[in-house]
């Protein structure tokens, strides 16, 4: 009886929280179909006008393409470097490992405004003009630790006896890496790449400081928020981005679930 009551209460709370978390997002999606510049109830009527305008908004599409390219390149770089670091920390015990780990995970906890202005100062000091490249570098840096932790979590789920066996059978170290270690990590690599991509695609605070004249999508949207009559288009973009990233992340989570038989073990 008592347990039933608790369960009922739990469901009620769950649904309430779900509503609280999803409602704002749903509102954006609903208003993207609303036939009015004003974001007010009652809704004026159904329209695809904003979506039509979206297809013709050159600057916006340009910004979206920039975000896409930055996302792909920075995630590629972060995945490569993070994987190397991940293999190193899960397969080697070396002096300075702790220090390396502490520094390499620091980008996870540093407020982006601090990293953003620090990188801005660096680029200015080195006389490197701000461009899409500076944003790409920033995004690669913040994604390296994520990739490293995802890959090392995956690898610590496997003892390295497969690798030892391969080398006993005459494979070279790098051959083993390519044919055993990397395939073992493959699901983690894909998941790490996808979550890096999403982080980069949505990231605003770093990009704001590191952007030159070319904008990423979030930076462009932010610049549009000052103009009330452009809000519907911003919201329509939001609706599209939200749906696309939800799909990407569901796929990446699914890959991670399929790929990771073991969880991150404590004290591993």
């Amino acid at each position: 009886m008592k347990r039933n009551f608790g369960k009922w209460l739990g469901w009620a709370y769950y649904l309430l929280l779900l509503l609280f978390l999803q409602l704002p997002i749903l509102l954006l999606i609903v208003f993207s179909f609303n036939d009015s510049v004003l974001l007010t109830f009652p809704l004026k009527g159904f329209t695809l006008e904003w979506y039509r305008q979206l297809l013709g908004a050159r600057e916006l599409l340009n910004a979206a393409r920039n975000s896409l390219v930055i996302g792909l390149i920075s995630s590629g770089v972060a995945t490569a470097l993070g994987t190397m670091a991940g293999i190193a920390i899960s397969r080697y015990n070396f002096p300075g490992r702790e220090i390396f780990l502490n520094i390499a995970t620091l980008p996870l906890v540093i407020p982006y405004v601090v990293l953003g202005v620090a990188m801005l100062i660096l680029f200015q000091a080195l006389n490197i003009g701000l461009s899409l490249w500076t944003i790409t570098i920033g995004h690669a840096v913040i994604n390296i630790p994520y990739v490293m932790l995802i890959v090392s979590a995956r690898l610590s789920g496997f003892a390295n006896n497969l690798e030892e066996a391969a080398m006993d059978l005459g494979a070279t170290y790098w051959g083993t890496l390519m044919r055993i270690t990397l395939p073992i990590s493959a699901p983690a690599l894909v998941a790490a790449f996808l979550s890096s991509f999403t982080l980069s695609f949505d990231e605003f605070s770093l990009a704001f400081f590191l952007a030159g004249t070319d904008n990423t999508l979030p930076v462009y949207l932010y610049s549009q928020l000052r103009f009330p009559n452009r809000l519907p288009l911003a919201i329509t973009t939001a609706a599209v981005v939200i749906l696309v990233s939800a799909v990407i992340l569901l796929v990446s989570e699914w890959l991670r679930k399929v790929g990771t038989e073991r969880k991150i073990r404590r004290g591993g």
Binding site: L21, A153, P218, V241
Partner: protein, 283 residues
């Protein structure tokens, strides 16, 4: 020896990239905080902006206010996420992953856009005010929530609940169900079981939830800009302002250094309890 060479090949590229683009910027930022003016020469070093900082009580006040707000954000996010994590882990069986995914799905969409959604809701012409006007609770043109600290708090809690839920969920999932059985066999009431078994075992998850909400919130400037207005600004706005508008880079660098030191101290304390590698990544 061979082993050492391999390790170096693996670790050097990420280490070099992090050294150049992560550590070096922080060091240069520290140097920059001793610079006399934005466009002047680097040398001689000057403590001018340190003096300004020390003599401006409003900087401290804002830092303190922002810390309080971040603390509240973290505490409220955990408070709201805790019951749901508990319910999902202990009451919903195999469906819990699906239910959790549904819950945290909004977290995967752009931060900026989620804040934008709250701007639409809390704005002076926003949906909340319209609702309150239509039921006659407030009169026309009296925005109650936008551009205030509470608007920032609500939006931040909304943004961070999913991130607080994940570590709590992970910590509770690790609890061996046999411990609950053992507690009951030994005569503990459900409440005693909760207070003396479940809650203590959830503490590491709570600590990491707190950490991962508190730290990024402390550096916030986007949410305050969009929904906080003048009365809702945070310490991060101060930094952003020095670079985007006031163009006082040395002061901005100094303000960042202060925040960085605070974060580093907090991370150090946290790290003594929970190694960062054990914090659940993304799920």
């Amino acid at each position: 020896m061979e082993n050492k060479r391999r390790l170096i090949v693996l670790i050097a590229p990420p280490a070099i990239v992090l050294a150049i683009f992560f550590l070096a910027p922080l060091v240069i930022m520290l140097l920059y905080s001793f610079k006399d003016s934005t466009f002047g020469p680097m040398l001689p070093l000057s403590v001018k902006h340190y003096m300004i900082f020390l003599q401006t009580p409003s900087f401290f006040r804002l830092l303190l206010d922002s810390s309080k707000l971040s603390f509240l954000t973290a505490a409220l996010s955990i408070l709201m996420a805790f019951p749901v994590a508990y319910f999902l882990v202990f009451y919903t069986g195999a469906r819990r992953i699906i239910l959790l995914t549904l819950l945290i799905l909004p977290a995967w969409t752009s931060f900026l856009l989620r804040v934008l959604a709250w701007k639409v809701i809390l704005g002076s012409n926003g949906l909340l005010n319209q609702l309150l006007i239509s039921v006659g609770l407030i009169s026309e043109g009296a925005p109650i929530l936008l551009y205030s600290q509470s608007a920032v708090l609500i939006t931040l809690v909304y943004v961070w609940i999913p991130f607080a839920a994940l570590p709590l969920f992970a910590a509770m999932e690790r609890i061996d169900p046999r411990l609950h059985e053992a507690a009951q066999d030994l005569g503990a009431s459900p409440a005693q079981t909760f207070w003396r078994v479940t809650l203590p075992l959830t503490l590491p998850g709570m600590a990491s939830a707190f950490f991962f909400v508190f730290i990024p919130t402390l550096g916030e400037w986007v949410t305050p800009t969009l929904v906080g207005g003048v009365s809702g600004i945070m310490y991060g706005n101060l930094i952003q302002d020095q670079f985007a508008r006031a163009l006082n880079w040395p002061l901005g660098a100094l303000l960042s250094v202060v925040l960085l030191v605070l974060v580093a101290a907090f991370s150090y304390v946290f790290n003594r309890f929970i190694p960062i590698t054990e914090v659940p990544v993304s799920t």
